[in-house]
């Protein structure tokens, strides 16, 4: 199963990178969100996906709880970053009037 999930993560990274390289600000933000998913899945995979019970005492032999704790922290941080970048994009559009990255370039001499 690890191989399968890793390949899934690879597909996620591919799509995320493709979106990051696009010209549209919102697509870039969506790309980062998808990249976060890929990272979470990989953290899950590298410690092994051995079968076991949920990590609660008394439920038998539990799966590894540590990556879950790490991912939980990461999800929250990822959400905070996405929220900030979304609002930033919104404000940028309000002030500048465009969401095209090429048009957001400064002067070439700056």
């Amino acid at each position: 199963m690890e191989t399968l999930v890793t390949i899934l993560a690879g597909v996620l990274v591919t799509v995320a990178t493709y979106l990051l390289l696009s010209k549209n600000l919102i697509r870039v933000i969506i790309g980062t969100a998808i990249l976060t998913h890929a990272a979470h899945l990989i953290i899950m995979v590298v410690s092994g996906l051995k079968t076991g019970s949920v990590p609660i005492v008394g439920e038998g032999d539990p799966v590894d709880p540590l990556p879950q704790a790490l991912i939980l922290t990461s999800i929250v941080i990822g959400f905070a970053v996405t929220a900030v970048s979304l609002v930033l994009a919104y404000r940028t559009y309000q002030e500048v009037g465009t969401d095209k990255l090429d048009e957001l370039r400064g002067d070439p001499d700056e």
């Binding site: 890793t6 092994g48 996405t82």
Partner: protein, 805 residues
């Protein structure tokens, strides 16, 4: 701190006091206060003559950074003393001259004298230090002070250009010299010159010998304006004339000569040292003398003549370095070159100093230095004309002036070279005296040209800006007269200096050649029979006069009309090219497009990961202990892949949000399958809130337009994305397999076992979050709070106007 240390540092201390004197004693010309210092120092250094002439050397130690072997050790022997006397003696005369040259009312005298004192102290430091690093420090101070002095009239564009150029070139040389010193330290383990000389055979045997030598020589050649680094010197003529007289004829440009002379004991005897220095010196000599003929500006002539004379001294030092090869051969054969170098060093300082001062007077009184506008000044400025005549005759090598004697010795030295019979000299040696002869002819030529164009011919006031031309005030004439008198005195009584100054300096340049109690034979005479040198001198005079007589014929040739040095163009072209090149390079890579930077980053990650995997035979995907795949997982994953692959093709806003949301919820579903209830819960909640946020923001954003991407860009994007995805997949698979291979026991065992016992909680993930690793959670809360604050301030705070930062 001994008196000698204070002597070296005294100009710096004086430099601190000068601004106060300038500010509070406006009535007296600041130069008078400065004048005392070099005079006192000169007398102080004179007191060393009895000790050094008996072969004694004075060494006073002072620790600076002993742990790195850097100590401010002051060392006085014949060579240091000769230079110290030149620096302080000519320094005093130059200060005296500048008092009359620079106006008390118009000029910023405090700047001038602070820079000049800084320079003087640094120069004393260079010649009196025994430690290479200390020499380097003072060396760079001379570069800085020199640039400050060249740009003294900093509102003139040419001054700034000259200052920058000299700075770049000499600092370039200084830095390579530092590298050379460091190599010497690596070889011999010491920065002390005396210890290096003692270990000369170790250095000679080292494989770093050649690199160290070339790097050190780069420093010496740039400072002493040797070919092709001579180009800064003519541009340094934008400095006030006292500066040109002091720095660019008598002292700073001789720092390189000093270094070469000082390190002859370390490097001398090697054929590379002999050939590099002799060749560089001779090329500089001939190039400088030919270029000097072409100049129309008096200071330009003197600048190129300085270049050429420095080349002469350098070539003599090269020829003399053969002394170390022979060790105890016929010392008269090769030591004549060293004798000529030392003697000419003194002579050049005297006549070149006086010539610069005379030119300064002409400039000061007529308002121009252009030889095409000047002429017939002999009767108007008789004293200046006499000084110039003496200086130029000495430079041209006419008897009975001191230049004649050193020129004769120079020719002897160069002729001797052909008799060495080493370093392939049998084959090419005959070229050396020929170059020396041709260069001397041109030297003779520019000397006559300079004199005749300035002082002879017709006086034409209409070409000049000033209305009334007259002789300079007496004060201005004191210094050049003293120097001109010295030219005659050293010419008539050359042996005055022989055993007091010259012989100790020779002994210092060639340490270890003499056995104790022995002295080099220094006997300079005007007449030594009908020798080859005499006929050469006659030939020089005849040819020089001939060329001068035919001046009308070659006056209009391209050779004479052109003034610019070939290498100036190369320098300018290189300088502009460097700036344009780096600008172009920056423009190519810094496009200002986010996408391009992403492309750089991804490409480098792909390349680095790919290379690492290739290099270490990764990925190690073998014998993986994989867990089984339940059937429903296939379903979830295929739906996931399907939904994620549609995202790039979507152009509808709502569709793109929903599909992104779907992938988020599928991640939550995967967490369920991986038995992570807390994660699933959080992921569900957060994905919901995210979708809501996206919706909110999208409502205010424009419709997504179908962006037309050129096919080439699309391919690049595709290749990079797939490559990046592949690398991540392979990387994580490798991480997984390496983790299994290492087979470490997971620390999670501890959490699982102690969650209940020690922390009193059943949900292990939650116990980790708030108990075992509570710090992470606290900071994560901080992150969220900051995000909230950012969002609030982004939306609430609006600055009206002045937003464009």
């Amino acid at each position: 701190m001994t008196l000698l240390h204070w002597a070296v540092l005294s100009p710096f201390i004086a430099a601190i006091l000068i601004p106060f004197l300038y500010k509070y004693l406006k009535r007296i010309h600041t130069g008078w206060f400065v004048f005392i210092l070099p005079l006192v120092l000169f007398i102080y250094f004179l007191s060393f003559i009895p000790r050094t002439s008996s072969g004694e050397a004075i060494l006073n130690n002072l620790d600076w950074v002993p742990s790195l072997g850097i100590n401010f050790n002051v060392y006085v022997d014949g060579l240091s003393l000769l230079f110290a006397l030149l620096i302080t003696g000519i320094g005093a005369l130059v200060v005296l001259y500048s008092i009359y040259y620079l106006s008390k009312r118009k000029e910023k005298l405090n700047n001038f004298y602070v820079y000049l004192l800084m320079f003087m102290g640094a120069m004393l430091g260079v010649v009196l230090s025994d430690n290479l690093i200390v020499i380097y420090v003072f060396w760079e101070v001379t570069s800085i002070a020199s640039s400050l002095l060249i740009s003294y009239w900093y509102t003139r564009e040419k001054s700034i250009y000259g200052a920058q150029k000299s700075m770049y070139i000499t600092v370039f040389g200084g830095l390579s010299m530092l590298a050379g010193f460091s190599l010497l330290y690596i070889i011999a383990g010491t920065f002390s010159i005396r210890e290096l000389v003692a270990n000369a055979d170790i250095i000679m045997a080292s494989s770093l010998f050649i690199p160290a030598m070339i790097l050190v020589l780069l420093g010496a050649f740039t400072k002493s304006a040797q070919f092709p680094f001579h180009i800064w010197l003519p541009d340094a003529m934008e400095a006030p004339t006292p500066v040109s007289a002091y720095l660019h004829s008598a002292t700073m440009v001789k720092a390189g000569i000093y270094l070469v002379a000082r390190l002859t004991g370390v490097f001398g005897g090697a054929p590379e040292w002999f050939w590099i220095i002799t060749a560089a010196g001779l090329i500089t000599l001939i190039w400088g003398s030919i270029s000097a003929v072409r100049q129309k500006d008096l200071k330009g002539i003197l600048a190129y003549s300085t270049v050429s004379q420095l080349g002469l001294i350098m070539s003599l030092l090269g020829a003399g370095s053969a002394a170390f090869y022979f060790q105890d051969g016929d010392s008269a054969l090769y030591m004549t070159a060293i004798l000529a170098a030392v003697f000419h060093l003194i002579n050049h300082a005297t006549f070149k100093g006086s010539l610069f001062m005379a030119v300064g007077i002409v400039d000061h009184e007529t308002g121009t230095r252009d030889i095409r506008k000047l002429g017939g000044l002999m009767t108007i400025m008789p004293v200046t004309a006499t000084i110039s005549l003496i200086g130029l005759a000495s430079m041209a090598g006419l008897p009975p002036f001191n230049g004649f004697l050193s020129k004769e010795l120079f020719l002897t030295g160069m002729l001797n070279v052909t008799e060495y019979g080493i370093f392939n000299l049998e084959a090419f040696g005959f070229i050396i005296p020929i170059i020396a002869f041709i260069a001397s002819v041109f030297t003779f030529l520019y000397c006559i040209l300079m004199f005749s164009k300035t002082f002879m011919g017709k006086f034409d006031i209409s070409k000049l800006k000033v209305k009334h031309v007259h002789e300079a005030p007496a004060g201005m004439l004191i210094s050049p007269v003293i120097l001109a008198v010295l030219v005659i005195v050293f010419g008539l009584f050359p042996n005055l200096l022989a055993y007091s100054i010259i012989e100790p300096a020779m002994a210092a340049i060639a340490p270890g050649i003499l056995s104790p109690g022995e002295f080099f034979d220094v006997h300079i005479t005007h007449w030594h029979g009908f020798s080859a040198e005499l006929f050469m001198t006659i030939g020089i005079i005849v040819l020089g006069v001939l060329l001068f007589m035919t001046f009308k014929k070659w006056e209009n040739t391209a050779f004479y009309r052109g003034e610019k040095d070939l290498f100036n163009a190369a320098y300018d072209y290189g300088y502009d090219g460097l700036i344009k090149g780096s600008q172009g390079l920056t423009r190519i890579q810094m496009t200002g497009r986010l996408r391009d930077y992403f492309i750089y980053m991804c490409t480098f990650i792909i390349l680095i990961m790919g290379y690492t995997m290739y290099r270490y035979n990764l990925p190690l995907i073998q014998n993986l202990d994989l867990s089984p795949i339940p059937i429903y997982t296939w379903l979830v994953i295929s739906v996931f892949v399907g939904s994620i692959l549609t995202i790039p093709f979507l152009n509808n806003r709502i569709a793109i949000i929903i599909t992104t949301g779907v992938s988020g919820f599928l991640v939550a579903l995967l967490f369920v399958l991986f038995r992570a209830p807390d994660l699933a819960l959080t992921q569900l909640l957060i994905e919901t809130v995210s979708v809501v946020l996206f919706m909110l923001v999208f409502y205010h954003l424009p419709k997504l337009k179908k962006v037309k991407t050129p096919p080439r860009m699309k391919t690049i994007k595709l290749v990079i994305s797939i490559g990046f995805g592949l690398m991540i997949t392979l990387g994580s698979l490798s991480a997984f397999s390496m983790g299994q291979e290492a087979n470490y026991e997971s620390i999670s065992e501890y959490y699982t076992e102690n969650s209940k016992e020690k922390a009193g909680g059943y949900n292990i993930v939650n116990v980790i979050l708030v108990d075992f690793r509570g710090l992470d959670t606290m900071l994560e809360v901080l992150v969220v709070s900051l995000a909230v604050l950012t969002v609030v301030s982004l939306i609430r705070l609006r600055f009206k106007g002045g937003e464009d930062v």
